[in-house]
Symmetry: C2
């Protein structure tokens, strides 16, 4: 294995271990010692990649932005719905995404800047809404910045409620219900009628994405 490949693998091993420890303990109680122990790497290897607990957490938070992008759709509101539905599917199935979302929602993570994921997802949604608007998909009163923030904030709460009540088992149903409640206020009935917001869609997009860009399966 080339030196660089090994470094990438080590970094991934450390991030996987950090995700596990942060998810189990929360940011505040997690220690670098426990992450080291879980990762089974040397202290030197860990500090080569990450200087502090905060950098480790930012690494985990950043991982959810590194996912394979979803295929572009002609209808930008469908693409927006796809982003949300795929994220819900990933939350159910990918421990790294789950750890990143829990860190984002961890109010007691002192010293950890958790604004990044909210702002990152708002930008993605706003961009899609602006394109949707230029294509005539939006009702005239819609403000893409405000609607983008509503989508990101509401999904954050829906996933939190699903995690608390059913450990994410009903997350795809709740996500479909969310979109069915938000989209009628921003688009035309004729466009609504063409959208696929069904619960299975996240899984289908996940398969579609993997077939286009083969990648290792996430750790079970």
């Amino acid at each position: 294995m080339a030196k660089q490949d090994r470094a990438i693998r080590t970094r991934q091993t450390i991030l996987t271990a950090a995700a596990k420890v942060f998810e189990e303990r929360g940011y505040q109680a997690a220690t670098i010692a426990e992450i080291l122990n879980t990762a089974g790497v040397t202290k030197g290897a860990l500090y080569f990649h990450f200087e502090s607990k905060e950098q480790l957490a930012q690494g985990v938070l950043h991982e959810q932005d590194q996912q394979t992008p979803i295929p572009a759709r002609t209808c930008k509101l469908q693409e927006l719905a796809d982003e949300v539905l795929l994220h819900a599917y990933r939350l159910q199935h990918d421990p790294m995404v789950r750890a990143a979302v829990r860190l984002t929602m961890d109010q007691h993570a002192q010293g950890l800047d958790r604004t990044g994921p909210f702002l990152h997802w708002s930008r993605i949604c706003r961009h899609l809404l602006e394109t949707a608007r230029s294509q005539g998909e939006l009702l005239p009163h819609v403000n893409p910045t405000i609607t983008a923030d509503v989508i990101v904030g509401t999904f954050a709460g829906i996933q939190s409620m699903s995690q608390t009540l059913t450990d994410y088992r009903d997350l795809t149903q709740r996500t479909t219900a969310l979109l069915q409640h938000l989209l009628p206020s921003i688009t035309h009935p004729s466009i609504l009628a063409t959208l696929d917001l069904t619960e299975q869609r996240g899984h289908h997009i996940h398969n579609e994405t993997r077939n286009h860009h083969p990648q290792p399966a996430p750790t079970p």
Copy 2:
């Protein structure tokens, strides 16, 4: 002071202290010793009212259900919007409500059942939606149970995003935007046109409630 009054005051002193400590430390890291210290009461007094840390947390969670009810409205969707807007106002101004919401959202509170507030608010919303339906305020496809859960889950996320990005400064704006995005999918345009969803409404209802039921101001 009668013995019973004193007991009620002591209980309130303990809950106020517990709210403060839980909000600062999170459930997991909070200790009964620190709550005792903050409350300035005897161990005996605390254990007379609360047997454990979980009971203290449930006491704080339960406090948000003890608020003065909002005045009934002829239009039940206005009453529903009022519940949400007043809750947003209280979150900005009442430390006990803030502590209760943070505990509800504290994913790392091991051993603490956090389902209560979600289910309690869902029931309140569902009941209002069922009455709204019987009065012909809802579009025919609306399922009160699903919509109630969407309202509760989405508000949970909106407040979380507002807290993370602006420490609740923009919460009333975000709450208005949330309602403007949800209500068009459940009611008729002619009813929408009569609703007051403005940012100041939470504050007005708060004053209205206090004038009807005088009560001590919340701790600043």
